[in-house]
Each structure stands twice: as C-alpha cells, then as structure tokens.
Symmetry: C2
Subunit: 188 residues, 2 copies
C-alpha cells in the first residue's frame, strides 16, 4: 500500500494523486486506506518520514563503518549513490521535502524532516571537525559549512542523474566528487 502511494506521489505529486488512484493501485478500497491512516496527509507524512529515516540510517551506518575520516567520506558518497539509485521514486519525494520548497503539505512535516536532516548534517560535520583536529584535513572552512557543501554537491550530481541517468551518470568513483574538496583548484 505504501509502495503504491510512493510511486504515485513521486510521479505526479501529492495534489495530483487522488485517494481513488492510490486505492486502485494498491488493490485496496478507499475505506481500507482510512483504516490504516487518518487521512491523505497522514499517509503522505508517515511515508516520507519512514523513507527519510531509512536514508539517514543507511548513511549513518556507512559513516560509522570505519574510523578513517577520508574513508568515512568515501563511504558516505558511495552509500548515498547506492541508496538513492535503489530508490529512485522515493528520491524525488525526499528532494522535494529536504531540498526544494515543499508545498505538498501545509505545514509541520517540513519541520520534522528538516530537523532529522539537520541532525544528520551535524554527524557529517563531525567528520570534518575530527579530521581537522588530527590534521588529516586542512582548515579551509567551518566543518558544518564543509558538510553542507559536500552534501550539496552530491545532491547536485544526483539531481542531474535523476533528470537523465544515461547522459549524467552519478560518478561510480566517489573520488570524482571528493577530489573537488581534497584537491585545490588553484595552486597553493
């Protein structure tokens, strides 16, 4: 049932999907949906929160797999790629909620998702902070700024890939993305 809703919301957007459509696709009746969810908004909300948590959990696990800061970042980029590629339809919704301005639901959802996203960003920032403390990284910016920057770049590439996967492949090698940060553009 959630799967049907995800696919439809992802394809047409919250306001362009009717409960009738969802019921059809899920092979349930409308009434049954209302047994599981308070209303349409509740369905969407629980769907988004569940999926966002899945993403963040996977990313957090990837980071914690090793102690080496550079390897952590590599794992992060790789996992982000993998998880997103395996969940294309969810990614569209995830981006709509975390990156773009989501107008799907009047208010309230944004806060919850954004808060979780913010917490994860702090986890990411910690890698840069530690890397700077033990001199693996040069102090070229605030750790949180670097975390935002890295995540933004990954999202940028993922967005291109979403638009036209064959024309804009998400780099297989995480270093294509990381080198933008690791190697300076101008000579030191």
């Amino acid at each position: 049932m959630l799967a049907a809703a995800i696919e439809l919301f992802s394809e047409k957007g919250y306001h362009n999907v009717s409960m009738y459509e969802i019921a059809q696709k899920a092979e349930f009746s409308i009434g049954t949906i209302y047994k599981f969810f308070k209303n349409k908004e509740g369905l969407y909300k629980s769907l988004i929160v569940e999926q966002a948590d899945r993403f963040h959990d996977a990313l957090t696990n990837a980071i914690e797999e090793t102690d080496d800061e550079i390897e952590k970042l590599r794992n992060y980029v790789k996992t982000k790629s993998k998880v997103f590629k395996d969940n294309v339809s969810v990614v569209r919704l995830y981006f709509a909620e975390t990156r773009g301005a989501s107008f799907n639901i009047k208010a309230g959802l944004d806060c919850e998702i954004r808060e979780r996203y913010g917490r994860f960003m702090h986890t990411l920032a910690l890698i840069f902070e530690n890397g700077m403390k033990n001199n693996r990284f040069r102090k070229i910016g605030r750790p949180y700024d670097l975390a935002v920057a890295l995540d933004s770049v990954c999202n940028g590439f993922l967005l291109l890939w979403l638009e036209s996967p064959e024309q804009n492949p998400y780099p297989e090698n995480p270093d294509v993305i990381l080198n933008i940060f690791f190697k300076g553009l101008v000579d030191p």
Copy 2:
C-alpha cells in the same frame, strides 16, 4: 498582479492558492485575471519563466563583467547572493522548479526552466574550462562537474539561509564558498 501571485504561490504553493485569493490580493476580479492569462497554469508558468530569466540574466551579466576567471566566480557567488536576498519569495519557487522535484504543474514547465538552467550551467562550466586552458586552474575535475558543484554549494548555503536567515547567514565573503574549491582539503 504578478507580485500578488508570486507572494501567494511562494508562501502556500500552487495547489494551495485559489484564483479567488490571487484576485483579492491583486485587487482585481477573477474575470480580469483570465483576460491576462489563459488559466491558472498559464499565470504560474509565465511568472516562473520571467523570474528565472531575470535570475539567469543577472548572473550572466555578473560573469561577463570581467575577464579574470577567479573574479568571474567571485562575481557569480556575490550576485547569486544579492539577487536571491532581494527576491526571497521568488527563490522558494525557483528552487521548487529547478532543484526539487516540482509537482506544481503536471508537465512541460520543468523542461523549459530546466533547459534554461542547463544553458546557464554551461556558461559557468566555460569559466572553469578557460581557467584550465590558461593554467589558472588545476585540472581537478571536468569543468561541467565543477560548475554543477559550485552552483550546488551556493544553493546549499542559500537553502540554509532561507530556513533560518539569522542562524545560517549566507557568507558575505564569496571566498568562504570559493575556498572550498580553491584550497585543497588534504595536503597536496
């Protein structure tokens, strides 16, 4: 009239704004709106395209103001900040259309806006390409990738700033962003 629509769409989203509301705010009657625009979708479309063009024109001009590649990038970052700060409500819509998955309109608009965005991204990529040709920049990645990366980072910071302007100020100094690219994170 466009101003009223922008504000409402930006605040509540396409589907949560009625023509009645727009008419009220614009101090016109509903019928008059239909004299100027074919329908609600037409209103939104012309509004978005016009604003996106304004943004891209301003950014293109900023880039063309100087011949120095580094200075071009500085102008880009600075102008992006300025234009966006002066048009907060529009930015939300612009992001929804170019960054997040826009579900406001069934189809067609995406293409037009995205295409313009893509064209601009090529302009930006040209700076990196030229900079590499004349050895101002090291060849740390494909020019187009670097353009996407820089734009994504700016967008990332702008998004934070949109969420809570006082807690996450968009860096006054463009080098805070550019140094992420200019200076390598790890020792060469």
